[in-house]
């Protein structure tokens, strides 16, 4: 009958909702282990926020090891990188923060995220085991240690296909002109000299070129450049090295030494192009090796910094995605226990064994990969500097990445790019009420 149908619908709806709610709450959550915690006395469940992209196999294995060792459970909460920062901020601000969380880059994190959130790890027992080089990479400007890398730290330089270079009799360039010349040779031989990666989400492939060129400013001016930039005494547009760097990048395009489809070139496409020998050089770091070698195990890559004018150029370092402890963690002790466990020699060696590269610990025997070996040389000879994102407090890498798209498409000049970066830096500086802005 007409009159009761409305009520029936409501009643049915409510009933179904109740039933489904009851059913739904029994489903398991994304957990790092198979062992269902039968509530042990004192068993703790740690909340660990990780970006989906960085939830690697070896991280999963480590977490499983920890759970076995400690009897605690780790509840891994995954979020896509684009949402991660927002989610973390919202949760932290409402005191719902996880016990452990990842940051994009340990050095960069000091600017990205409020410093109060990080538990100071400088006094942890393992801190003394860090190598000098390792410590220099992961410590903050004020010397604090706040995290350990879960992806290998490394450097941004130009990787090149050794086979192609050998075939054409090319050697690593030490000046810009030499680079242009060998690019011409490559072009004539039908190989795209340099790969530019600028698809949405993959633009880091190009800022990696930008950062290594930018690092020459520190080489020339010393580390006080950071004090000057950070206190707003110096603007980006006033640093000639930065403009020259961008001009060099543009020159590559103008001379036709880059791939035409750069704007839709993704990280995966880059791997294919490198692996199949369509491109000879690509700016980046050793993080590309794991996926690349899976599909193209025979490739051999060399590594050199992009030359800058008449100089051979420098490498830009990054600290790697880091794992940190929330200073307001509900289960701080257990969280610290986890990170201490991660820092042990056995765990580190197991971890590094799955993806060789640079370890930050002095006593860890880590196999080097073909790139990190080269990188070590540059680090030892003082030709490697931490990237801008880890030193300039109002740097937003995303803004730079988007501007790279516009610059390479020709809609903004290098000078305009630097001016806009300055404007955005000022916005951030004023917004956060940093001294000097």
């Amino acid at each position: 009958m007409v009159m009761t149908r409305g009520k029936k619908k409501i009643a049915a709806g409510v009933l179904i909702s109740i039933v489904l709610t009851a059913c739904g709450s029994n489903a398991g959550s994304e957990s790092g282990t198979n062992g269902q915690g039968n509530a042990n006395e004192g068993q703790v469940t740690l909340q660990f926020m990780v970006t989906s992209e960085n939830y690697s196999g070896r991280l999963k294995d480590f977490i499983a090891n920890y759970e076995e060792m400690s009897g605690n459970r780790v509840d891994v909460q995954l979020f896509p990188a684009a949402e991660f920062d927002n989610m973390l901020k919202v949760k932290m601000m409402s005191d719902e923060g996880p016990d452990l969380f990842v940051t994009d880059d340990i050095a960069m994190s000091q600017f990205q995220v409020p410093v109060e959130w990080f538990e100071d790890l400088t006094e942890r027992p393992w801190a003394e085991r860090l190598s000098d080089g390792g410590r220099a990479i992961i410590e903050w400007n004020d010397g604090r240690i706040t995290g350990l890398p879960i992806t290998n730290p490394g450097g941004m330089g130009m990787m090149y296909n050794k086979a192609i270079f050998d075939e054409l009799g090319l050697s690593e360039p030490t000046t810009w002109d030499e680079l242009l010349q060998l690019s011409e040779t490559l072009k004539q031989a039908g190989v795209t000299p340099i790969n530019i990666q600028l698809a949405n989400g993959s633009e880091f492939g190009t800022t990696h070129l930008m950062h290594q060129l930018f690092a020459n400013a520190e080489l020339n001016r010393g580390s006080q450049i950071w004090d000057e930039l950070n206190s707003n005494k110096l603007k980006l547009v006033e640093v000639e090295e930065y403009e020259q760097a961008l001009q060099q990048m543009l020159e590559l395009k103008e001379k036709g030494y880059i791939n035409e489809d750069f704007i839709s070139n993704t990280f995966e496409m880059t791997q294919e192009k490198l692996g199949t020998g369509q491109v000879a050089m690509h700016p980046g770091g050793d993080f590309i090796l794991e996926p690349l070698l899976e599909n193209y195990p025979d490739i051999e890559l060399g590594f050199f910094p992009m030359p800058f004018g008449d100089t051979p150029g420098v490498i830009s370092l990054y600290a790697g995605v880091g794992m940190s402890v929330n200073s307001n963690a509900k289960n701080k002790e257990a969280a610290l226990e986890l990170i201490d466990f991660f820092a042990t020699k056995e765990e580190q060696e197991a971890y590094m064994g799955k993806a060789p590269g640079t370890s930050v610990f002095a006593d860890v025997e880590a196999e080097q990969n073909m790139i990190s070996e080269e990188l070590q040389k540059y680090m030892d000879s003082g030709r490697a500097f931490m990237g801008m994102f880890g030193r300039f407090q109002v740097w937003n890498d995303m803004d730079a990445r988007k501007l790279m798209q516009e610059m390479m498409l020709g809609s903004k000049s290098p000078q305009r790019v630097l001016e806009e970066l300055d404007a955005k830096a000022e916005l951030l500086g004023r917004g956060k009420q940093l001294p000097g802005w």
Binding site: S17, A27, E96
Partner: protein
């Protein structure tokens, strides 16, 4: 129907079917791509897969995509919001449509403004937190309700005004108190517009990914659109998986749609908006 009209109709029909390719082609692309291997998927051709990977692809998607859990969550949230919005809005709109005066006008405008403003994420987060509703589906339902009641009211008020007051009077004379009058006489008359409103609410809630993302901490409570997003974040360029996930996520809705579509559209069309 004259011959000329029939011929014209045929032509129009043909034209519309041809035009509908614009709709079908993307669907076809999704289906075909989901059966391919990753490399071929990235080429986005309307070709048959050279190797059929249906089983492996879907197995992976099921395992990683939390399809069923997501579906259950979506149903709970959508249904709950539907009930809450329709009930609150119907009552509210009835009052506004019937009672004259400044207060009533003010109410109408007050709620109307709610259609214009997007929600403020952090402050809402704190509200939920204060009420201990964070990370609950009930909390999400409340938020959706807060946002959608204005829209439902907008649609309802116009329609109620077309129900003659005599109905109210008749019911009152008959001894109905206002509550019974509403429930027994008026609400059933609002069936067509309730349909329209229900569809609008359904589509807004089911497809929303922003609100669950922000207010549901636990992955286990995530709704289907969110799972698409999370899946995409993980399998960035494995378009075969991504499209397969989209297919599975959309399938239940599509089935419901095919079965109920005449209902749905007729409901919308008969719940005519008279302004």
């Amino acid at each position: 129907m004259g011959k000329k009209t029939r011929g014209l109709n045929r032509l129009v029909e043909l034209g519309l079917w041809a035009l509908s390719l614009i709709i079908f082609i993307p669907y076809l692309l999704v289906v075909l791509t989901s059966a391919k291997n990753s490399k071929e998927a990235g080429l986005f051709r309307l070709s048959f897969p050279s190797e059929f990977h249906i089983f492996e692809n879907y197995q992976t998607i099921f395992e990683r995509g939390h399809i069923i859990q997501g579906f259950i969550n979506s149903v709970v949230v959508t249904f709950g919001s539907l009930v809450l919005v329709l009930a609150c809005a119907a009552l509210l709109s009835f009052y506004i449509a019937r009672v004259k005066g400044k207060f009533s006008d003010f109410l109408y405008r007050f709620f109307l403004l709610g259609m214009v403003a997007p929600i403020s994420l952090v402050t809402t987060f704190n509200v939920l937190k204060g009420l201990n509703l964070l990370n609950t589906r009930l909390g999400i339902i409340m938020i959706f309700a807060g946002i959608l009641i204005p829209f439902a009211m907008f649609i309802y008020v116009g329609f109620i005004k077309t129900i003659p007051r005599e109905m109210d009077e008749a019911a009152t004379i008959d001894g109905c108190g206002p509550y019974r009058m509403f429930a027994v006489i008026i609400f059933p008359l609002m069936k067509p517009i309730t349909f329209t409103a229900a569809i609008l609410v359904f589509m807004n809630v089911w497809n929303d990914s922003q609100i669950p993302l922000f207010f549901l901490n636990d992955n286990q409570y995530w709704t289907m659109p969110l799972n698409i997003y999370r899946f995409y974040g993980y399998f960035r360029t494995d378009w075969n998986y991504i499209f397969g996930n989209i297919l599975l996520t959309t399938l239940p809705v599509f089935i419901i749609y095919l079965v109920g579509q005449r209902f749905m559209i007729e409901g919308m069309t008969s719940g005519a908006v008279k302004g």
